[in-house]
Symmetry: C2
């Protein structure tokens, strides 16, 4: 490691969430791994253990961790990569002026202060999780994921009756490293984990795992800076983003990305065509395979974990979009369409897909095959353009997997509720069960300003149907760039959608948190209600607006109904009465004496005795 | 009419929404009716007609209307009622001190300044819409509803291909008064319209009509006043609430309700047990049939359009709730459970249900049969207590219909996604297709502060499955009383859910607004995007945060991507290029020369010629 300069690092939000403690679990096959989980304590009067939840927030919520943005997070995965014997370090590509938009020194975002030599696969080696899985190897990443997904459950305990409709998903009661390996080997799941992102806390994306969410950040030509983007990343994972996409499109794109990745415990995704376009001054027709290829290597060396690649936008698909209400709404898709049309040539991404796979294979960059022709309006949902591209993505999935590359598939977009499910079934059929990664979908077009909600509805449903990762949409969608507050609202909305999907799929541990919170609600443990919620700050703020006093935190009512009308309070009275008398005995008495305590079936049975 | 006193009336929000014009359509059978709709103009460059939308906002958004809260809205339905010859006016019940919580004069909310003699059915007559429908009469209310639901469409035009999955719904292309009559006669729909609420603009609730939403308002012992509640009502309907429930539970309950009803163009619902409980000082066991009966007459004379009556909470059901995680969460349900348990007697609501029907029949107060045992947590969803009560509600529906009373059925609550649909199918089977009216449902318990979203997901789904009206949930649910901002967020969220349901059911006109907004988006008509949205103010505010200048309202990009990366801009370039060359001709050229423009099917067909 080589410290280039001392500079003023941006500050980020740190510290634990309320009543929360970070715990780390070790591996068995890989004892050195330390898998983070979050324990939320409940009030002693509850007589309940803490609730353990998935924790994507990284060291930022660990009061024992030293955070120095200018140094970056600890690089624990370097040892894992070196231990494989399959990687080598090398000099790497030199940063070029066009990587940052040819900015003069005074306008340049400072380079990240610490430089690292990149790693790549040795000649003839594949270093992807898929290659290892196929070889029967349970990597540290796989065991890490297994422990993480179990949410602190041990194999032989904490089982509850399964309750859900998982459609095609097959979710085990307990997850082992070997099971993770099988899921990766089958292609049903991926672990996006570039060998050059050793700061990563590995996670899996697949329909048999917990539903994940992605948050997009990134500056644009119009607004925002490095410090804002690093904080947005830390802020997004604090509230639960499982991966973060850096969609920056302005200048300083290389340097900002370095700052983000070196401080990111979650996988970072990008759309490399954005930077490639910057390098040719925004003129789509001037893009070349060489510029694009160089950008892929630049970003792979930095540690990008997954690339959105719009190789499914083929020349032949473009006429299918001409009669659409909203044409092509994917930025990457429209760039490629313009290139194809201008040159009257097949997409260079499609034609060079083999070579792209070779690059991804050398660093283990996962594919997120982009849906460049996704519908941008209800009118365009599930049209021929969309599904023609999906067929091509299925074809590309086979090519990538033949090269041991990990693949997920991006999906829409804007889709009315009755057309959502077929998106999942078609994707699974056409793309060999590769994980599906959708943007919403928005179930109506008429609510700009509320598209976190229009899309949260679609996201919950498509997650239930089998989508593995949900890309968030913020309230600013269609209107402007999200700020910090928008990022939080987007993340919380998508945590709701993902969790609702896990509940409906019948994930064996999903309901633990719901039940704990509902018990707290019923027992008027207000602090526990706040602490167990997805956003304790907002829950408490709303409560305190009408009842700010500390005494009201233990009050057996709230401002909604006041003490006399509190149904929960009355329910307690009822329960107390039942316990006093013995509800069963009381029911018995009434059964003997009349119909008052009998169920309708019992009354019917009494009226018409069974023969 | 008799003016009691001059007092300072509260101010409410008035004026049209942006680019909107109120239009009124007349009837054919009933030429005097004036049915309001809202026309949203689009920019002349669009070359499109205005978009006509449903309008629940009443005269408040009509710049030509004179609004005087102390006088109340025009009483246009009085003539309709008198024309029937079936009603008589009478002296009415005197207001008693306990109606307003026995408050001293200085603490009393002033009585509404204008008194009206109440109407009721003449002896032996039924004045319900159901009675008229069964008699083959298309009432003014029915024709009003028919015109309203067509959204300005004429019979022979504006038809588009139907696209949706309506489940059991059968939505006609065009709605006539006679069709409305059939729906009412069958009990599949209701028109809540008390003869003493002549200010009402009639609307229908039924699965074959547009999905409706309800907003709850009401003061509590802890907070709020008459002026706030009247403004909340006006504010809620401004954003689209189709009915409003006054759930007040504190003092002044009678007088506040009078102010609300006299100024309400939408049906007002109440839960009469709340006021009855106030009259017995909040002691549930002191409730009597006599107090309750008197309250029903009091509220029927005021003009309440529907009563929530928890007559399905029977003594025998109470033991079924004892092992629940959250017991009984309905206020009315818990009050009745406490009464039953204390007296070890069957519910007086159940025992006197016949007499309740007689009262409702005399004024046409619709039943909203309450789900007092709805689940208050994911753990309790679809349990025996919930469905046992639903069976009783089915039994009560038959009794009410036999008395010509209109009935809808209330539903949950907290339900995970995979358990939602069966709630609708069971309700339809058990309750003879009576309209279903659900609270959400919330699809997870873990997000207090965001329960408009957790419930908006469930509401959209259950609306699609056939629920006729969705009761909103605000961000403050479980935490505090909603303020004006919360009411708006709740209403907009539920307008999204209801509209998403209409789209998925394939309502013939639902997509008109989506398509118009999406075209505006694609053509960079920013103002039209704002104006066509459910909340133009918020949409414009978010846009202007990053691009405030007027010039940016006509800019062909936004702050999300900036000009270079705008996919819509590139799509326009593509379309222009396609038009220049003729995309079809270009495709032809390529078909001749190679596979570039061929679809995968065409390529496959070429490779393997059909036999």
């Amino acid at each position: 490691m080589n410290v280039i300069a001392k500079i003023t690092a941006p500050t980020v939000t740190t510290g634990p969430l309320p009543a929360s403690r970070k715990v780390y679990l070790s591996g068995t096959a890989h004892p050195a791994i330390r898998v983070p989980l979050r324990e939320i304590a409940v009030h002693p009067t509850a007589g309940e253990p803490p609730v353990t939840v998935y924790d994507a927030s990284g060291p930022y919520t660990d009061p024992d961790a030293t955070i120095d943005i200018a140094t970056g997070l600890p690089r624990h995965r370097t040892d894992w990569a070196l231990a494989s014997g399959d990687v080598e370090d090398y000099e790497g590509r030199l940063v070029k002026p066009e990587d940052n938009g040819n900015l003069p020194a005074e306008k340049l975002t400072p380079a990240f202060p610490v430089a690292h030599r990149p790693l790549r696969a040795k000649a003839g080696k594949a270093v992807t999780q898929l290659a290892y899985a196929r070889a029967g190897i349970v990597t540290p990443e796989m065991e890490y994921v297994a422990i993480r997904e179990n949410l602190g459950r041990a194999a032989e305990q904490d089982q509850r009756a399964r309750d859900g409709d998982p459609f095609e998903a097959e979710i085990p009661d307990f997850i082992t490293g070997e099971w993770v390996r099988e899921e990766i080997a089958s292609g049903r799941a991926i672990i996006p984990a570039n060998v050059n992102h050793p700061e990563l806390e590995p996670m899996a994306i697949g329909r048999n795992f917990l539903t994940k969410i992605n948050a997009n950040i990134g500056n644009s030509a119009v607004t925002s800076s490095m410090a804002e983007e690093v904080e947005k990343m830390v802020w997004a994972i604090r509230w639960g983003a499982d991966t973060v996409m850096d969609l920056s499109t302005g200048r300083n794109i290389h340097n900002i990305r370095d700052w983000i990745i070196r401080n990111a415990p979650v996988p970072i995704g990008t759309v490399p065509i954005y930077q490639a376009l910057e390098k040719v001054d925004g003129i789509a027709e001037n893009l070349t395979w060489e510029v694009y290829r160089d950008t892929l290597i630049e970003q792979a060396e930095q540690g990008v974990d997954y690339f959105t690649i719009h190789a499914g936008v083929r020349l032949q698909h473009i006429p299918l979009t001409v009669d659409r209400v909203t044409g092509i709404v994917s930025r990457g898709g429209s760039i490629m369409a313009k290139w194809c049309l201008h040159h009257h040539r097949e997409s260079f991404l499609y034609e060079h897909f083999d070579e792209i796979c070779d690059i991804c294979r050398a660093y283990d960059v996962s594919f997120s095959l982009g849906d460049g022709l996704r519908p941008g309006s209800i009118a365009d949902a599930n049209d021929r353009a969309q599904f023609a591209e999906l067929e091509t993505l299925g074809e590309l999935t086979k090519i990538a997997r033949a090269k041991d590359c990990q693949v997920m598939i991006e999906g829409p977009g804007h889709v009315p509720m009755h057309k959502i499910r077929v998106n999942v079934t078609k994707q699974q059929q056409l793309c060999g069960d590769a994980p599906f990664y959708t943007l919403g979908p928005l179930v109506t077009d008429i609510a700009p300003g509320y598209d976190h909600i229009t899309s949260g509805i679609g996201a919950a449903m498509i997650g239930w149907f089998g989508t593995a990762m949900l890309c968030y949409v913020t309230p600013k969608e269609h209107l402007g760039l999200p700020d910090r507050d928008d990022v939080k609202v987007g993340v919380i909305t998508y945590k709701i959608a993902a969790h609702a999907a896990d509940l409906a799929k019948g994930h064996p541990a999903a309901r633990v948190r719901d039940d704990a919170l509902s018990r707290a609600r019923f027992e008027f443990r207000w602090e526990d209600q706040f602490n167990l919620s997805l956003d304790p700050e907002t829950a408490q703020l709303y409560h305190d607006e009408t009842l700010p006093k500390e005494a009201h935190k233990v009050a057996h009512f709230c401002s909604m109904c006041g003490p006399k009308f509190c149904s929960m309070k009355i329910s307690h009275d009822i329960r107390a009465e039942a316990q006093k008398e013995g509800m069963a005995a009381m029911a018995e008495k009434y059964r003997a004496g009349g119909d008052l305590y009998m169920t309708p079936e019992e009354i019917a049975a009494k009226a018409e005795p069974a023969e």
